[in-house]
Symmetry: C2
Subunit: 256 residues, 2 copies
């Protein structure tokens, strides 16, 4: 790419989260950065879009800043849609989402606002990457991630991505041991074993909080969960063609 690429940055934890501030810091060396991020936390919002409510955009760009920043009142997917159509008025060369405070490995990708923003950009034909750190703490330590974020992003800028594919990058929680490197992996088969925490509200009515315990059901050594447990940074190529092509032949034998 001859000229500086135009990079749309978003996330699901909201524009003030340390994870997106770190991502902006890395991206400003790599291209012209425009941020369009939620004005409030949107974790677990999946690929929700706002059909039944209004959307607001607020310009936050600081004086003398080279980075344009906007908040949007909607979901991460809304941020990408409105970012492209109303803020940028053209397709960016790249979209990056994150760095999420928490895992988007294995089945978490399905519930993830971070990854839904990346997927939304992919649907629009934009090379796109979601970054996540396996640490839900707001004070999570993002130091040491920069070289990985930069290397993966530069590869996407140089090589592009095939139509219909975006990247899901996860970092192990920081420890005293440095990351062992990068592994290309597949999404582990896993689920959440939900526990509903039942309580009584001040009016005497029962209500519930959704909680759960993560269960890796996949014994494979080629999965993102396995690599992350072994202190590797993982990249899973993610597609939004959900067709289970391997089952079409069997379905055609059913008596329908």
């Amino acid at each position: 790419m001859d000229k500086r690429p135009l990079i749309l940055v978003t996330n699901d934890d909201g524009i003030t989260a340390p994870g997106i501030r770190k991502l902006i810091e890395v991206m400003k060396d790599m291209g012209d950065v425009v941020v369009v991020a939620p004005d409030n936390p949107q974790s677990g919002k999946g690929h929700a879009i706002t059909l039944d409510a209004t959307l607001y955009i607020n310009k936050l760009t600081k004086e003398n800043s080279t980075i344009q920043e906007y908040t949007c009142s909607g979901t991460p997917a809304d941020c990408v849609k409105i970012g492209i159509k109303e803020v940028l008025k053209r397709k960016p060369d790249l979209c990056v989402s994150g760095i999420n405070h928490g895992s988007n490995a294995s089945i978490n990708v399905i519930y993830s606002g971070t990854m839904s923003a990346a997927v939304e950009a992919g649907i629009e034909g934009i090379p796109s990457i979601g970054f996540s750190l396996l640490d839900y703490d707001l004070d999570a330590d993002f130091e040491g991630l920069e070289p990985y974020v930069k290397k993966i992003t530069q590869n996407v800028l140089d090589n592009g991505l095939p139509d219909g594919v975006v990247l899901n990058v996860n970092f192990p929680k920081k420890s005293d041991t440095p990351f062992k490197g990068i592994k290309i992996a597949r999404q582990a088969r896993a689920n959440w074993n939900e526990k509903f925490d039942k309580r009584i509200n001040p009016m005497g009515k029962e209500y519930y909080w959704l909680t759960g315990v993560f269960e890796n059901l996949d014994g494979g050594e080629d999965t993102d969960e396995f690599a992350l447990e072994n202190n590797y940074v993982t990249i899973v190529p993610v597609q939004f063609d959900l067709t289970a092509h391997h089952f079409i032949q069997t379905l055609n034998t059913w008596k329908l």
Copy 2:
């Protein structure tokens, strides 16, 4: 299956929508029906789950009714989770979601609350089907869909589904011509070309409504869009392993 199957019914249009009432009517001949559906419309909610707010369940079962009915204040995915863990206290034998008022063919599956409920049940290891009619009208005509719903459901009860696969069934909008039959199809590559409808609120502030025009980018004749245009009922097998397996080999050649 020797005894009557236990069937969990849900949707995203809310428990009073004509589409779910039709689905309940069909299912009550096929098994023991428990309904856990949103207490308010949840269209476009994707695979959102409720992490930052409380959840309520309300029992609506009518006296002398053989069908148990509950509303949940959360998303379609929440309904399935809380339905299994708090209402049924065991895994149902089948989960059906819909009948949605509107298309969940092609890229719509990504944004769909109807399909996210079906996928959530699939993640929990339950055979699961989402049904949708290509008519957004609340007064949509669901007559004539019953034999198809019944046949597809009976096949799933008899044959089961492989782990990780759920079915996405779409019906063409009703016309004077009867459906031509059922086609097994793949998800068409399509997107929405968004138009943001900008307005000024009474306080003088700009706001937006998300609208858009559907664009089928896929010339294939094996897609759901093609079959629906030709008046076929479509079944797309849908998976929640989002790994783009075909791109892993190339990614391994990148300088990372």
